[in-house]
Amino acid sequence: MAADGEGVLMSSKKNLKDMRDGQKRISRLSRFYVAAYIHMLFNRILAFYSIIYGAIMLYYLLFSSPAYLIAKVATAIFWVLITPQFFETVKGLSMSWSRGMVFGRLNDEYISLIRKRYGSSFKVSVYMMIPYVAILLWSMAFVFMVVFWR
């Protein structure tokens, strides 16, 4: 053991407790981050439903074209379930394209410096709008699907 007590410090074992626990417990998100909670909840249902939907879709396309109504309803359910996932993905892409200027949680000084270096207010507002434009197109496509799919 070293005379300066380093050995004592290094060898002492703390009882570490990770309060975050597994990702299975998503309900606590609802207390401080409702959007993330909705995203997680929908994604947990989507994970199973996606496999079923893929099977229905391939069956409809390859074997039985009269089953189009089932495929249409299945597509509508899938559409609703994947909406938060799509929105958050586009939001994440917008965040990475803008180097964290929008939708990020970086500190204010860094944000102001990085805006000075890379972004104008026009660019920032374009990056801010990307997810909302995407979700608008997404809703229009849903209407097209409901009306014209046959």
Partner: protein
């Protein structure tokens, strides 16, 4: 297979499926290019199965935190 490659499939499908679905929907009024829609829908079907498998793996099988 490395986990990074599996996640790559997840990322491709989570942006790819909505884009293909949107394209397929916007093409649906035009009856002359139904074969293109058919191909897009087959890709959507395959993508949905891939996304489902990756998501089930990520959410339900590998969601526990590693013990320090």
């Amino acid at each position: 297979m490395k986990a990074a490659y599996i996640m790559l499939f997840g990322y491709i499908t989570m942006i790819g499926i909505p884009v293909l679905l949107m394209l397929s929907s916007f093409l649906s009024p035009f009856s002359s290019i139904q074969i293109l829609r058919y191909a897009l829908n087959i890709l959507v079907g395959i993508g949905a199965i891939v996304y489902g498998i990756v998501a089930v793996r990520a959410i339900y099988l590998h969601s526990e935190r590693r013990k320090p």
